[in-house]
């Protein structure tokens, strides 16, 4: 079982090749440059470096969303193009589950957050039961203040062992946590606090084994938000 994993959901561009629970290569760049220019050259680089015959890939894994709409589409179109040409399926990994996978078997709750602007974050709440990543609350856009209140409600229960935040929404959540969060919390360090295609790939291996994949044509990003134009129509009661 061999797969290529891609995450271009945020500022980070990350690609990885995994084979039978081994990470062969990972290339991650967290720098202001358009994914359109970097993503495919990065894939080309790790494929060459590990002497890949692309035809031996069994699937392409993608951080399917949420994230920057444009970033998601660049990753999705890249995955769809590769999968179309190689005739392999696509494994869709929720971006926040992929982030949570960075903290394998961490104690307590894992709360990946992505900056969704206007004091909002895309967040999900996860924890590990043994080796298995369990979703406590599905990924969705929430106000940072509401996320803190939600975690406070778990005080003494699921959150008794504390919460680890990670992701580029950490800076949005931090002032709210400092002010109101009652449960112990921490922020993940640099080696695990951003998207990593290796984590997307590792989770994709689990999904793939469970038969959770789609065709290249079927795959589309999980935006979690409607377009501005649709939102405005709804506000005006036109829908």
């Amino acid at each position: 079982m061999k797969l290529l994993a891609i995450d271009s959901s945020g500022l980070v561009a990350s690609v990885a090749i995994l084979e039978n629970e081994n990470l062969l290569a990972e290339y991650t760049v967290n720098f202001k440059k358009t994914h359109s220019e970097t993503l495919l050259p990065m894939i080309d680089e790790i494929a060459k470096m590990t002497e890949q015959d692309l035809k031996t890939l069994d699937a392409v894994a993608i951080a399917a969303g949420p994230g920057s709409f444009t970033g998601l589409r660049i990753g999705s179109a890249t995955a769809k193009g590769l999968a179309l040409a190689l005739k392999v399926p696509i494994v869709e990994v929720p971006t926040l589950a992929g982030l949570a996978m960075n903290l394998f078997k961490a104690k307590g709750l894992i709360c990946p957050v992505m900056d969704a602007r206007r004091q909002q974050v895309y967040s999900g709440i996860y924890r590990f039961e043994g080796d298995k990543l369990v979703t406590v609350r599905n990924q969705e856009p929430v106000a940072a203040a509401d996320l803190i209140a939600e975690l406070n409600e778990m005080e003494g229960g699921l959150a008794s062992e504390g919460v680890i935040f990670l992701g580029d929404g950490s800076k949005v959540v931090k002032p709210f946590a400092e002010k109101d969060l009652k449960v112990p919390y921490t922020f993940a360090p640099a080696n695990t606090n951003r998207q990593r295609a290796a984590s997307v790939g590792a989770l994709a291996e689990v999904y793939f084994a469970e038969g959770r994949y789609v065709t290249a044509a079927e795959h589309a990003p999980i935006y979690l938000r409607k377009s501005q134009a649709e939102q405005e129509r709804e506000r005006k009661g036109l829908v």
Binding site: S36, R73, G81, A85, S227, A229, E230
Partner: protein, 342 residues
């Protein structure tokens, strides 16, 4: 692969998701277009985010259909071509990322194509005898260019719009008079049977290049006319209004084109772009060419509106000239005619 050069072309610059397989730059083996127009109509124009989302959903089926219709697999094509500008950046990015990945995984060369040059190249499909140098008039919702095709991949701009594109003026005026979106085809239809001289809209003068166009003045004149008539409680004669507006736009396009052809010693004139589907523009330019002894070329309407076959036609000549794009090819939303990605 078979003595021919077969190119898979992809186009997603605006609101059509399109793919085609074109042989030797003119023989269209398939031409698949998924139009999103119904989706955008309720918004009165193209919504970029919705266009980008629809491209992602349709692009694989459209490419697969193009290959199937051509009776080919990816392995059979010689290159993959894609529009990388100008256009809506989010929409372009879908096609560019997809095309790069397809070409990379299939081990095929990639050719980035300029959308406007694609429009001009649409003429090669039905007129393989057309060869540079010739004069091109590209008129669409986003572009109005008068250009000399000096060589297969070398273009010189003589004039362009300094404000609205001609098609944009059609859309805006059509909306104001209540014909709705898209304005071009609706105005064209409404103008049938109207008197083109019923209303006199003054032609705007443009400072700068003698071949430049300006349509915002005409647009304002039309909006003023609509306002004045409505204030006075007079009903607007839509056919007369549409025919008069159309006549003004077409008049200035034809006049500049013929003058440019004479002054630059061009024998062939090629019309292109979405507005080239306008029946009045086709008729008047054809007549003016005939009267002045020029050869007139124009694609069938299906190749005038956005499509991927025209990208395949342009890509063929780029391919022959040695153009190969890198895996870092990016969308360039304001790509100029004749410009090449570095």
């Amino acid at each position: 692969m078979n003595g021919h050069t077969d190119i898979l072309a992809i186009e997603t610059s605006c609101d059509e998701t399109a793919a085609a397989v074109v042989r030797d730059g003119h023989e269209v083996l398939s031409n698949i277009i998924f139009s999103q127009i119904d989706m955008h109509t309720i918004y009165g124009g193209v919504v970029p985010e919705l266009a980008s989302r629809a491209h992602i959903e349709k692009i694989n089926p459209v490419i697969e259909e193009a290959l199937r219709t051509a009776g080919m697999t990816l392995q059979d094509v010689d290159a993959v071509a894609v529009t990388y500008g100008p256009g809506l950046v989010g929409a372009l990015l879908v096609g560019v990322a997809e095309a790069k990945a397809v070409a990379f995984a299939a081990g095929k060369p990639l050719i980035g194509v300029n959308h406007i040059e694609g429009h001009i190249s649409a003429n090669y499909i039905e007129h393989p005898e057309l060869k540079p140098p010739y004069l091109g008039l590209v008129v669409s919702g986003g572009h109005t260019h008068l250009v000399i095709a000096e060589d297969w991949n070398k273009f010189r701009i003589l004039g362009r719009t300094v404000d609205d594109a001609a098609g944009e003026a059609f859309d805006k005026v059509a909306r104001a008079v209540g014909l709705g979106y898209p304005g071009g085809p609706k105005m064209d239809k409404a103008a049938k049977g109207g008197d083109p001289n019923a209303i006199h809209f003054t032609k705007a003068k443009v400072n700068g290049s003698e071949y430049d166009f300006s349509f915002s003045g005409l647009k304002s004149a039309c909006l003023n006319y609509i306002n004045t008539e409505r204030m006075a409680g007079r009903e607007i004669n839509i056919p007369d209004f549409a025919a008069s507006f159309e006549n003004s736009v077409v008049g200035v396009l034809v006049e500049h084109t013929i003058r440019a052809a004479k002054e630059h010693g061009m024998k062939d004139i090629a019309l292109a772009g979405g507005v080239a589907a306008n029946s009045e523009l086709r008729r008047q330019l054809a007549e003016a060419c005939e009267a002045n002894g020029f050869h007139f070329y124009v694609p069938s309407p299906i190749f005038c509106t956005d499509n991927a076959a025209m990208i395949g036609a342009a890509a063929y000549h780029e391919f022959k000239c040695g153009t190969r794009s890198g895996w870092n090819l990016n969308a360039v939303p304001d790509l100029k005619l004749g410009e090449r990605a570095s």
